[in-house]
């Protein structure tokens, strides 16, 4: 069921990313997403970047197209449509977790990491961004993470290059019992491979075309799975079993196109 929420806080996270906070009663688990509707514009899927016990839930939006640009310009007091939460969530039981996030992928992983930390798990974080001021939630992670490893494409902060370049060293020198990842799919493919090499179970949050979000329209088909319901979080074995992972996406018509 759709309802309307009022934006109570707008936080500029990076030049291209903004967090919108609002009061929304339905219980959400970290990893789940909502469909947010700007009346007169599009309705889009967004993973929750803040969930309970936070009094205000939140979504963190990166400017990609016209609709997210519209989101980026929203101000306090604006009302938006919302339905959900939908999908599955991260399993919080591992005791020593490595997060590997690229760009706005950190928005999906942050609430899960906080929840795991509250349960007593240790969390380390590898954060990648295009440039220093685009590193998302660095302070948020620093509050509880064992270690935060940084990388930027242009070398303005942390190691220069992709975040996946950090993995061989991190994974060989420390013991983890789970890797959680979200970001560009090529990054997740590489992260999955590195996790497998080190024998660490992998879980990744996927993004696909989203229309109904309630297991009906097949727009989010990923092999035999529906990302809206059986995802967005999949284990490494499932991801590796689907030919599309890192390679194909379906466009709005349902056509499989190179990712």
């Amino acid at each position: 069921m759709r309802t309307t929420v009022t934006i109570e806080e707008v936080v500029r996270e990076t030049p291209s990313t903004v967090t919108l906070r609002f009061r929304y009663a339905p219980t959400a688990l970290p990893g789940q997403f909502v469909m947010i509707w700007l009346p007169g514009d599009d309705e889009v899927p967004m993973s929750l970047s803040y969930v309970e016990p936070e009094p205000l839930k939140g979504v963190t939006v990166k400017v990609m197209g016209a609709t997210s640009r519209h989101f980026n310009q929203l101000e306090k007091g604006v009302r938006v449509g919302i339905r959900g939460p939908y999908g599955n969530h991260f399993d919080l039981t591992p005791s020593n977790i490595l997060l590997v996030a690229g760009g706005s992928g950190a928005a999906v992983l942050a609430p899960a990491a906080e929840a795991a930390h509250r349960r007593g798990s240790k969390v380390s974080v590898a954060l990648g961004a295009t440039t220093a001021n685009e590193i998302l939630f660095r302070d948020r992670f620093a509050r509880f993470a064992e270690e935060v490893f940084l990388s930027t494409d242009d070398g303005t902060e942390g190691r220069k290059g992709f975040v996946t370049n950090l993995l061989p060293e991190i994974l060989s020198s420390r013991k983890f019992d789970a890797v959680w990842s979200c970001g560009p799919e090529v990054m997740m493919v590489k992260t999955l491979r590195a996790s497998e090499e080190h024998g660490v179970p992998f879980f990744g949050s996927l993004e696909r075309q989203m229309k109904c979000a309630i297991n009906l329209c097949d727009a989010c088909a990923f092999g035999p799975y529906h990302v809206c319901t059986e995802g967005p979080v999949f284990d490494g074995k499932t991801l590796a079993s689907v030919e599309d992972f890192g390679t194909f996406k379906r466009d709005a018509s349902g056509q499989r196109v190179r990712a």
Partner: protein
């Protein structure tokens, strides 16, 4: 023969419950999955000539548990791209009914020929989508246009042709009769019922397209009435669609005159487990009420 096995226009289905068009049908893997979940067969998404993105979101609006409003706008990858999905499903042994939509009789015929070449066992003509300009019910609500389409397709293919009709008409029997006399091998009904949702906060329609189509339990009585009226008018088999959620719903559709049944909204809600629930439940009901098989129950309410 198993009590649930049904034959329509020479094509056999292991049970009467088919995946309705538009649900899960974008990928061959999902069609296969519905079949594995227990569907007697699957109807593809309605396919056109060219890729079509459909409408922007919101494309659906959930109305508690009694209904679902949608205006997807016939998104589909076009027949050429869709071929791989149909081939995948067929290679897994899935009973596939190919659904097509067009703007002219020629377009319907061309698409049906392509579907037939891919190997589908039957074709369903979408003459009833309530929210796509120039397509669906804009053609199918006019008995003459509907007849032209059915005739053109019948001339072009050998496999059975089902005409899927719209409830958004004052005279269901008239449309059913037109489809039959044009040569249709079966009639499927109903497509969704034209409907609207308004957002009272934003003071505008919720769906991007404005008008949409209602499905789910709310429309079961409308579907039953359509099947009832069509059964009194035509001799060809009827495929009942509209709000089928429980085995009792299915039994009622059989009594009203349907031979096959399509399930849509309930598939989404159950994640596909509904097919087993429906099949097991209907088997029980038929036995309990003294029917040896599905065919014996078809139209039984008319004989009281």
């Amino acid at each position: 023969m198993d009590a649930l096995t049904v034959k329509v226009a020479g094509v056999e289905f292991r049970n009467p419950f088919l995946l309705a068009s538009g649900i899960w049908g974008e990928s061959g893997a999902s069609l296969h999955r519905a079949y594995v979940a227990g569907a007697g067969g699957v109807v593809t998404k309605s396919i056109g000539r060219e890729p079509r993105t459909g409408y922007p979101n919101p494309t659906i609006e959930r109305l508690d548990d009694w209904g679902l409003l949608n205006a997807m706008g016939l998104p589909n990858p076009g027949i050429k791209n869709y071929a791989e999905e149909v081939r995948f499903a067929l290679s897994k042994g899935v009973k596939v009914v190919g659904s097509v939509f067009g703007g002219t009789p020629e377009e319907f015929a061309l698409l049906s020929v392509e579907m037939e070449k891919l190997g589908v066992g039957s074709i369903e003509l979408n003459l009833s989508c309530p929210h796509a300009k120039g397509y669906g019910s804009e053609i199918g609500a006019d008995p003459e246009l509907l007849s032209e389409v059915v005739r053109a397709v019948k001339k072009a293919v050998k496999v059975p042709v089902w005409a899927k009709l719209t409830p958004n008409t004052s005279d269901p029997a008239l449309l059913a009769a037109a489809a039959e006399s044009a040569g249709a091998d079966a009639i499927s009904a109903i497509n969704t019922v034209r409907a609207l949702a308004i957002d009272p906060v934003g003071m505008r329609p919720v769906l991007y397209h404005g008008l949409g189509g209602l499905s789910g339990p709310a429309i079961k009585p409308i579907g039953l009435a359509f099947i009832w009226q069509a059964y009194e008018k035509v001799r060809i088999p009827l495929v009942g669609i509209g709000g089928i959620t429980t085995p009792e719903d299915a039994f009622e559709y059989l009594l009203a005159g349907a031979t096959l049944l399509e399930v849509g909204t309930a598939v989404a809600d159950s994640g596909g487990t509904v097919f087993h629930t429906l099949a097991d439940g209907l088997r029980e009901i038929l036995k309990e009420r003294g029917f040896g098989n599905v065919a014996e129950a078809v139209g039984a309410a008319h004989r009281k």
